[in-house]
């Protein structure tokens, strides 16, 4: 262990995490918070499936169902999937490019706390008069009509966490452009880094429209403006456009990093370099680019007219081509390889048919006239759970098993991992395959119940049984985590023995400065290149020297906390006498913290050469 992270008491550890600016610790924070929200979203999914298991059910009331449904979608997308991916990006991407940290460690921490407080705020709605209930899309007419404060929680909570995501994206972009180790050219970057790059670019351009949309909705709800009020000349379709200009890129923000994770896993466990690396990069960029041209495919039935529908239909179909390139490249990566079926590899392998199923139904949806039938039916629900669960969640589970040793220093149990995998896989297909047919048979989505005699009974009960399988799978995973952190196998640097990229060149878990000496990268799959030449570690690109480290700071937390507090003031602004005071207090906390940050110079500190040499004797290689 490094001299700088000796055993500490609980209080000190907690303080350490609250103030950390280390990308590896922030990654763990993302993983914990995102994991918690995933369980919450999953619990909400279970409520949905219980309610819909039989016709005319009374497990939950209609109003409550809408809240659960809205929070399930919102939580899963904004507070579970994206943060979990951010966790892996934080933990792994700097290691993969041979960097000591991200470009803006302080901003990195700020991004996390903004997300966290935004998510917390959103979920407090459960206890403060009811959660948002207009669907995760929160279409304007319904959301302006919605009573209580649910929608206000949605608007303010997503605004806060959205800012966190945006600055996180900028941070990754700059890191990848400016902080690569010597020799790490763009075309030598691992695909996970590439997909982080493209996803971050999508975040940069997709979140501002959401920010604007949320702001307009906030103005309409809180200050009585007329953006979405037809009686004042407003137009609700503007919200739909702004939401989907954000919303469609958002789904690629989710899937591209998952693609990146799979690319790493396929190459590693096939012991083969990624087939068609440059076309993989090209396809990733192209998907990102096309992602901005297709948003109106969510609005085919809005009545935009045949010209718009036709253009967006064809543009949408085009995305199938680069995605197909990726699928075939993965297959050909395995072709001729030496495939080892570890738990992460099982997820990667199962991902291919599952995701292709979801992708091709996406292409079916893109056929506008047919979408008049599919739209807002369970066919769409089936489509997006196939791509999201079969793509993103599989990716997250694969990444969890794959990088767990690198992040926590212990292997997860492979047998338990495989139990989770099979239960989850079976449950997933059981739940969602049948939903295609339910949709085609006329079952609309977002319904809190259905009446008997329409032919929906069998399908729904099968679907609910499937969800139970997934729940058990998740419980087994939790058990696995608890069990192995007590007595799991300790991970070596190259935990899977077939590691190809730089993260496997340093100890598991990585020391806080990552690389004692920056590595010299001599080709794609930098570590593999060295291994093939019979070396065990990277060639350093610089002599051993002092390492500059950023200082910890509590300010990211307090800046975010201030916004969290101020949001309550906004929410109750014309209802409670204390609202103005609360707004001011929040503002003072936030701006005060920002002011402190800007007047107090922060030059970081250095780890001295002597201490690093010391480390060496204790067995840490870099």
């Amino acid at each position: 262990m490094s001299t700088l992270t000796q055993k500490k008491g609980f209080g000190a550890t907690l303080w350490d995490y609250l103030t950390t600016v280390d990308h590896k610790k922030i990654a763990k924070l993302y993983l914990i918070a995102g994991g918690f929200f995933f369980l919450l979203g999953g619990l909400e999914a279970l409520i949905i499936r219980i309610q819909l298991a039989v016709p005319d059910n009374n497990f939950v009331s209609a109003g409550f169902y809408n809240e659960v449904l809205t929070m399930h979608g919102t939580t899963m997308i904004f507070l579970a999937a994206m943060p979990l991916l951010f966790g892996f990006m934080n933990a792994i991407m700097p290691l993969q490019i041979g960097a000591r940290d991200v470009a803006f460690p302080f901003v990195n921490a700020l991004g996390f706390w903004l997300f966290f407080f935004g998510g917390l705020f959103l979920n407090l709605s459960w206890f403060l008069g009811g959660a948002p209930d207009a669907g995760w899309t929160s279409y304007a007419s319904l959301s302006l009509h919605s009573e209580g404060h649910g929608i206000d929680f949605y608007v303010l909570g997503l605004q806060i966490s959205g800012i966190g995501t945006l600055i996180g994206g900028i941070n990754f972009l700059v890191t990848i452009i400016n902080m690569r180790a010597p020799g790490m050219t763009y075309m030598r970057m691992p695909l996970f880094t590439w997909s982080t790059f493209v996803a971050s670019a999508l975040i940069l351009f997709a979140f501002p429209p959401l920010t604007v949309g949320l702001a307009l909705m906030m103005f309409d709800r809180i200050f009585n403006t007329g953006f979405f009020q037809p009686s004042m000349g407003g137009n609700t379709i503007i919200w739909e456009h702004l939401f989907w200009i954000f919303g469609h890129p958002e789904v690629y923000i989710l899937i591209l990093p998952a693609f990146g994770i799979f690319s790493e896993i396929f190459a590693t466990f096939s012991r083969k370099r990624l087939f068609g690396y440059s076309s993989m990069v090209f396809a990733t960029v192209l998907i990102g680019f096309l992602g901005f041209m297709v948003w109106a495919h969510h609005m085919f039935t809005t009545g935009l007219g045949p010209i718009a529908n036709a253009i967006f239909a064809v543009a949408t179909m085009a995305i199938g081509v680069p995605t197909g390139i990726k699928i075939f490249n993965w297959l050909l990566t395995m072709w001729g390889g030496s495939i080892k079926f570890t738990t992460p590899m099982l997820y990667a392998v199962a991902f291919i048919p599952s995701f292709v199923m979801g992708g091709v139904t996406g292409i079916m949806l893109a056929s506008a006239p047919a979408d008049y039938q599919y739209h807002d039916s369970y066919f769409v629900v089936a489509h997006f759970h196939y791509v999201i669960v079969g793509g993103v969640v599989f990716g997250l589970l694969a990444g969890t098993h794959y990088w767990w040793p690198k992040m926590f220093g212990r292997m997860l149990n492979d047998t338990l991992g495989k139990v989770t995998f099979w239960l989850f896989l079976i449950g997933f297909h059981l739940t969602f395959f049948i939903q295609h047919f339910l949709g085609l048979m006329g079952m609309p989505r977002r319904i809190f119940t259905f009446l008997p005699g329409q032919g929906f009974e069998v399908g729904n009960v099968i679907s609910s049984v499937g969800a139970a399988f997934m729940a058990v799978a998740v419980l087994v995973l939790l058990y696995n985590i608890v069990k192995t952190s007590i007595n799991g196998e300790v991970a070596s640097a190259d935990s899977w023995e077939d590691g190809r990229t730089l993260e496997w060149a340093i100890a598991s878990p990585a020391p806080e400065y990552n690389f004692k000496q920056l590595p010299l990268v001599r080709g794609l799959d930098a570590l593999w290149v060295e291994k093939m030449q019979g070396k065990k570690e990277m060639t350093p690109a610089e002599p051993l020297g002092d390492i500059h480290m950023p200082n910890s700071s509590i300010l990211p937390l307090t800046i975010s906390l201030g916004l969290f507090v101020a949001a309550f003031g906004f929410l109750y602004h014309d209802e409670k006498s204390w609202s103005l005071a609360v707004m001011l207090i929040g503002g003072v906390i936030t701006f005060g913290s920002m002011f402190l940050r800007s007047v107090k110079d922060d030059h970081g500190y250095h780890i001295h050469k002597e201490d690093l040499i010391d480390d060496n004797n204790k067995g840490v290689k870099a």
Binding site: S279, M334, W335, S338, Y372, S377, P444, R446
Partner: protein, 354 residues
């Protein structure tokens, strides 16, 4: 070269898929049992798309299975290092071009159908004969106005079969979406503009479905979104015209005839408690509540319950129980059991049929 052979195979596969999917669901709600030109066009597109997708999935699956069978790491291979292949331009071109071609096959009929389904030019021609219906979606109930015939009904849409019926779609409060799965895809009812589209109801399929289709609201609109159903009754043109005549005739009457004393009591209660919201004259539009002029002829109550006296009483006793969040709950004071009996008798007698 036998050019027809692939066509033949395609055709077989096509009909096989069609067979597989048809028979799914109930004929009165299922989009897989198309009962009109629009639904048929959409169904054909679905089948074509499914076919292409089955091909794609088949190709992927074949490669996938081959890979998994042939290239697993076997005992004794633990130290084998496979050849590190960079890629293959030839293969990459193949799997770029073939998907593009497949997508073109789907794109062309997609575009053509998009324009066909959007063709409502007959509405602008002020064609007297074309049936136009103004649909207004309200929180959990549907109003159907026939502007050319100047009659209004609610909850149960009555249309002629085997001809194009044109719709003007609008929402009164929040956005809803008008969907009759068996007859054609949906169209949103927006709050700020009127959307237009057409549907066609096939007479034979109507019969097979039992004379009645289910319509649904397909846009989340509040607690009772799930229950915002309506029914569609397609009639042959002659019968439809008769119905219109009866409705028109009923408009002339001062008020609907009432036959029994109980019904008359019901009428009185109705006129004190309900008339402020509900119209009973088929010529009158009220934004507040469904027109009840032909309530006795309907096949459902509030779009959801089966049409029976008990159910009507249940609805009047506590609408909230039936449709959470509906706009009638708590607007008309308490009703005694006698009141309910009277109202039921009266309402069931509201009919334009003989």
């Amino acid at each position: 070269m036998k050019k027809w052979l692939p066509n033949m195979r395609l055709f077989t596969l096509f009909s096989f898929m069609a067979l597989l999917l048809a028979g799914c669901g109930e004929p009165y709600v299922s989009a897989l049992q198309p009962a009109g030109e629009v639904a048929e066009m959409q169904y054909d597109l679905m089948i074509l798309a499914t076919l292409i997708m089955v091909i794609v999935i088949a190709v992927v699956t074949v490669i996938f299975i081959l890979v998994l069978l042939r290239f697993r790491r076997k005992k004794g291979d633990e130290n084998k290092i496979p050849k590190q292949v960079e890629g293959s331009h030839k293969l990459e071109i193949i799997w770029t071009v073939i998907p593009i071609l497949l997508l073109l096959v789907l794109a062309v009929p997609t575009v053509s159908a998009t324009f066909k389904l959007a063709d409502v030019s007959a509405m602008d021609k002020k064609d007297e004969d074309a049936i136009v219906i103004n649909v207004t979606a309200n929180l959990y109930w549907w109003e159907f106005e026939y502007p050319n015939q100047e009659i209004v009904t609610a909850q149960e849409l009555i249309v002629p079969t085997d001809e194009k019926v044109y719709f003007n779609l609008k929402a009164a409060d929040v956005k809803h979406s008008f969907w009759i799965p068996a007859v054609g895809g949906k169209m949103d009812t927006n709050t700020e503009n009127t959307n237009r589209f057409w549907l066609k109801f096939d007479s034979k399929k109507t019969e097979e479905a039992g004379g009645l289709f289910y319509g649904k609201c397909a846009e989340l609109c509040g607690p009772s979104h799930a229950l915002m159903d309506f029914k569609v009754k397609p009639l042959p043109r002659a019968e439809f015209d008769q119905w219109v005549d009866k409705m028109t005739a009923a408009k002339g009457q001062e008020k609907p005839e009432t036959s029994t004393d109980v019904a008359r009591t019901g009428e009185e209660i109705f006129n004190t408690s309900c008339i402020t919201c509900h119209a009973v004259n088929p010529g009158e539009k009220r934004p507040t509540a469904p027109n009840l002029a032909n309530f006795g002829d309907r096949s459902s109550i509030a779009g959801k319950l089966e049409h029976s006296e008990e159910n009507l009483k249940a609805w009047l006793r506590d609408p909230e129980e039936v449709k959470p969040g509906n706009k009638m709950t708590g607007t008309y004071g308490d009703l005694t059991e006698q009141d309910l009996d009277a109202l039921t008798e009266y309402l069931m007698g509201l009919s334009v049929e003989d």
